[in-house]
């Protein structure tokens, strides 16, 4: 068994004294896709943002318990937050593409964090764009504005941008929810392909998607982990009634 990449022990997260997430205990093994599902407002996004310390800006934010990435408590004093964020990349629901060229977007972070690698930039750009299956489509217009790309392409560009700083972990917050079905499917294929080199945590409200591509699953309900475990098992044999209720949605509505 591999050492878990992300680990939480008795973790609670609160805003101004009001708890949002409680009693979190989880171990996310490396090079897997961990899905996080649950009804809206159950704290899925907050959970993700906490792992890369993106909630620091919000006043009144407080974390209790331990959150470890690669064995290191990320909320301890003296931790290099920037290195953490480089190592834990995040992809948001709507791709946020800067008003620059495609090339400039991909190397946006690399350029500023590793200016000494200047000669490598083109190579890095090509490599990462290939990794996200975007290279063929954009190789002739690298210096055109990134806004001309479709949403699906932009989302992939954003992932390439994160990959350029070589993260070990990728956190994805509903990455396909603003995409059309065709782009969604393409992105899912991309996520699966990334599994071999990265640990992925995927928040999704699309249960069919969770069933398709995740290895393990965490079901969040009212700020607590109701159930967690292997995806296939959870869908076949959910042990808790809340889980059963939630998963029964799959037969009803969304079929992306």
């Amino acid at each position: 068994m591999n050492k878990p990449t992300i680990e939480m022990q008795k973790t609670s997260i609160s805003y101004n004294g009001k708890p949002v997430l409680r009693d979190l205990d989880m171990k996310i093994p490396p090079k897997t896709i961990m899905g996080v599902i649950g009804p809206s407002g159950s704290g899925k996004s907050t959970l993700l943002r906490t792992i890369c310390r993106m909630n620091d800006r919000i006043s009144g934010f407080h974390v209790q318990g331990r959150i470890r990435v690669n064995g290191d408590d990320i909320y301890r004093k003296g931790i290099d937050v920037y290195r953490l964020r480089r190592n834990v990349g995040m992809v948001f629901q709507t791709p946020c593409v800067f008003p620059k060229s495609i090339f400039e977007n991909v190397i946006f972070a690399v350029k500023r964090l590793c200016p000494h690698l200047k000669k490598e930039f083109s190579h890095i750009a090509e490599q990462t764009l290939c990794d996200v299956f975007l290279w063929e489509e954009v190789k002739d217009r690298l210096h055109k504005s990134a806004s001309i790309l479709s949403l699906g392409q932009q989302q992939r560009l954003v992932i390439a941008r994160s990959l350029a700083v070589q993260p070990e972990i990728l956190l994805m917050d509903e990455p396909t929810s603003s995409l059309d079905p065709k782009s969604s499917t393409a992105l899912e294929a991309l996520i699966v392909s990334l599994k071999s080199r990265h640990t992925i945590v995927l928040v999704t409200h699309n249960l069919a998607q969770a069933q398709r591509i995740t290895d393990d699953l965490i079901f969040l309900h009212e700020g607590r982990i109701q159930e967690s475990g292997c995806t296939a098992e959870m869908f076949e044999n959910p042990s808790r009634p809340e889980t059963r209720d939630y998963l029964s949605r799959l037969t009803g509505m969304e079929f992306f």
Partner: protein
């Protein structure tokens, strides 16, 4: 005439779309026309009144360097004065205004930020004459003593005063532009591991640039148009300084010239026309800056 209602059978209530030219609508339309007419009327007026002097002197009006009432009217010294004083004002105000804008938008908590903005709005409303009084009673003397000049009324004095005057405006508008940058940009930058500084310089400022440029243009427009304060401290000499970059020389801006000579030119023909033409030049310059400013600000939103 009130729009009348047709009661159609199954279709229910239908209101026929007759033009409702009732009193209110007519009134509103009329007032709107008045508003539109003001600026176009002003422009037309300036143009018409400028015709005599331009017909007589043609390009010499803009390029001539001598202004002797009754004989010849050359606007160049005034154009030079306006540009110098505005340029100096910007040079002095921009570091403070832009630095303040970045600090207020990116580093201050919400309450303090609102405090700063309220303060700036108060100061933007300070009457020009107050600055003029400050200039005449205190600043001129200070400039004179600090630099050992004969007279404290110089381009420097006017530029200093104007710089303070446009500082609040540029600060608050630039801050608006920075604050308007969506949170996603900041999130995206931070999630890549960039520091706050890198986020600001790499993502926030570039995105806010049109808005900041707009703020600067608007500040320039205001500086060029300011009459009273400049009039009192610029020295009132219709000559381009020698050398041209001598900030300690007295000069004349277009606005200050208009302020000084308007009263005595009433009733004259050519002199009045010359002042109108000068006003037209000022109008066009300020209009350019103001409209550019608003265009850029609009793009930023």
């Amino acid at each position: 005439m009130i729009g009348h209602f047709k009661f159609g059978g199954e279709k229910g209530l239908q209101m026929s779309r007759v033009f409702q030219w009732d009193l209110f609508r007519m009134g509103a339309f009329f007032t709107a026309l008045i508003s539109l007419g003001c600026v176009t009327g002003l422009f037309a007026f300036l143009v018409v009144q400028s015709v005599p002097i331009l017909a007589q002197q043609k390009w010499n009006f803009l390029l001539g360097q001598d202004w002797w009432a009754g004989e010849v009217y050359g606007a160049l010294p005034m154009i030079y004065g306006s540009l110098m004083v505005t340029g100096l004002a910007l040079f002095l105000a921009l570091p403070l205004a832009l630095g303040g804008a970045v600090y207020t938008s990116e580093f201050l908590p919400a309450k303090r930020r609102l405090g700063v903005k309220a303060l700036m709005e108060l100061f933007a409303g300070v009457p020009g004459i107050i600055y003029g009084l400050l200039g005449v009673a205190l600043l001129s003397g200070w400039v004179k003593d600090s630099f050992g000049l004969i007279d404290g009324n110089t381009i420097l004095t006017a530029g200093l005063l104007l710089g303070i005057m446009i500082l609040p405006t540029i600060l608050t508008l630039s801050e608006d532009a920075l604050n308007a940058v969506p949170g996603q940009y900041r999130d995206a930058s931070l999630s890549l591991g960039l520091t706050k500084l890198q986020m600001i310089t790499g993502a926030v400022i570039p995105e806010a640039l049109p808005g900041i440029a707009g703020a600067i243009f608007l500040g320039m427009g205001r500086a060029m148009g300011e009459t009273i304060a400049v009039m009192l401290v610029i020295g009132g000499l219709d000559k381009i300084a020698d050398p041209w970059y001598d900030l300690f020389a007295p000069a004349q801006s277009i606005a200050s010239k208009l302020g000084r000579e308007a009263a005595e030119a009433i009733g004259t023909d050519l002199q009045w026309s010359a002042l109108m033409a000068l006003g037209l030049v000022l109008f066009l310059l300020v209009m350019f800056f103001t409209l550019m400013g608003h265009l850029l600000l609009k793009r930023a939103r």
